[in-house]
């Protein structure tokens, strides 16, 4: 680990990718994450990497697909409308099992929406976005430091599963400056890319021809392909779940489930409520897919816990996953705001007080 530096989230994300050994960045600018492109347009040439601005997000998605299919480590960053445009490509990339890292610095939606922080793309990130039975592995950072760590983790995970990984931040994570300590450069794992990537025959041991595709016209073959994808998602559920508890040792009366920037506001609210004599716990999913199902269930079913509330900068998306985990054993409520109007700790406290009674 190096010295702590003060860095904007967007720039730190760009630097983290380079330190993870990613030397290809293709993107199309969009607020509130354009600083990633600005930073990498300068930085990538310095490290011998490629910075390429595509003509649109649709094109960028297929540039990523192409580079990844050839065995290159590659990533992009965008914000909500841009990710919608990429979603067709993301489905193809997942179908063809290519490891690509996506960063979505969410802005308010739907449509052009606004440019301020939001968590309105939870469904898009965790339940699809594109067509077909696929999942992204989704991680949600709550600080600039965590964004760096998650970006660096994303590349080996994408390669382990041959599946796209998405970092789901919001405008605040991108725009805020916080102290960051960069872990050392990532050690490159022995690659299995020769087994699948269309990287050319010259340096390979076997004569097997690799083919990267998502088209399977035979229904039986396509079903097998989907079963293979499912087995990867099942393995993610067993091996990759990350979450953090806050004040969960206390006998809390209410459990908050919250992620990303919103969870920090909740943390402040929990401290203030504690000072007023009300114990509230929080479960913060760090992976949104796979969702920490058992952790949420166990935390909700704790004897002292009377109610659960999902607090999000959306009109209630993650709350559906929380309800699924709690299985009706506790009332599950939702509180949230949209459009960049981030709830204050006081508003969170009011929401908790309301259900505590």
């Amino acid at each position: 680990m190096g010295k702590k530096v003060l860095m904007k989230g967007n720039e730190a994300i760009g630097e983290a990718a380079i330190r993870a050994g990613c030397l290809n960045y293709f993107a199309y600018p969009i607020t509130p994450q354009s600083e990633v492109a600005e930073y990498l347009s300068r930085r990538m040439p310095e490290v011998g990497g490629v910075f390429l601005q595509g003509e649109s997000e649709v094109a960028v998605a297929y540039m990523l697909f192409g580079a990844s299919a050839c065995g290159e480590r590659v990533f992009t960053t965008s914000s909500s409308p841009g990710i919608s445009l990429m979603s067709e490509g993301i489905s193809y990339i997942a179908g063809a099992q290519c490891p690509v890292v996506f960063v979505n610095i969410i802005r308010g939606g739907p449509g052009l929406g606004g440019i301020l922080p939001s968590q309105g793309d939870y469904f898009q990130a965790t339940k699809g976005g594109g067509h077909g039975d696929y999942h992204l592995l989704v991680m949600a950072p709550a600080s600039v430091q965590e964004a760096v760590e998650m970006v660096m983790r994303a590349f080996p995970l994408a390669e382990k599963y041959r599946n796209p990984v998405m970092i789901l931040g919001d405008g605040l994570i991108g725009q805020m400056m916080e102290p960051v300590e960069f872990p050392d450069h990532l050690k490159t794992e022995p690659s299995n890319k020769d087994d699948w990537a269309t990287s050319g025959m010259d340096h390979r041991k076997s004569n097997k021809r690799n083919l990267v595709k998502s088209l399977y016209l035979d229904p039986k073959v396509l079903n097998d392909q989907n079963l293979l994808l499912k087995s990867k998602y099942d393995q993610m559920k067993r091996e990759e779940i990350l979450y953090e508890g806050y004040n969960t040792d206390a006998d809390y009366k209410v459990l908050i489930v919250s992620y990303g920037t919103m969870s920090r506001v909740c943390r402040t609210a929990i401290d203030l409520l504690k000072a007023q004599g009300l114990e509230v716990g929080m479960l913060r999913p760090q992976t949104l897919f796979p969702f920490p199902e058992k952790a949420v269930r166990d935390a909700a079913w704790k004897e002292s816990c009377k109610a659960v509330i999902s607090i999000e900068m959306s009109m209630g998306q993650m709350v559906e996953d929380v309800e699924r985990c709690v299985q009706g054993r506790r009332p599950v409520e939702w509180y949230g705001k949209c459009g960049g109007d981030v709830p204050t700790p006081e508003e969170v406290m009011d929401a908790v007080r309301k259900i505590e009674k």
């Binding site: 702590k4 003060l6 607020t31 509130p32 440019i115 301020l116 405008g171 605040l172 725009q175 805020m176 400056m177 916080e178 102290p179 920037t261 920090r264 506001v265 943390r267 402040t268 609210a269 401290d271 981030v342 204050t344 700790p345």
Partner: protein
Amino acid sequence: MQSEVMFAGFGGQGILLCGKILAHAALNKGLEVAWIPSYGPEMRGGTAYCTVVISDKLIGSPIIKNPRHLVAMNRPSLEKFAPTVKPGGVILINSSLIPIRSGRSDVDELVVAVSEIANELGSIKAANIVALGAFVARSKIVEYDLLIEAVKEEFAGKEKLIPLEMKALERGKLAAEKKN
């Protein structure tokens, strides 16, 4: 203990940089910091503001509706944000551009002719550093020496500006120490 400072003014007044330097000084002291800019579709000369949160423990909510202190570099900023400042905080008013006062009796109002001082020093661009020097000297939010170091670090790539910035800091400090 957590403190928040809002820096506000016109785009181009060096508001965001001002906040960044303070954040740097606090980071060098080993404190937790967060620097949150306003960002939006703005035109040249539009409003710019940022908040710096400084704390001795992990920072929770980075969205601050009621900062402890305010550095107002133009009139619209003072009018908009003065009512939000917590009682007991410092409100710095750039009297070169702001003919009014905060109207608050429960805060420490620090009136400094920031732009005039910068002009006397030979560059209006140094106004933000004058304000920063005055604000830190009055609020003591970080040690003044740490601020000097942070300014030097910030201008390390433009070394010929450092003597001017040092003078700007010092003039700000003197203005803050003068009894009203």
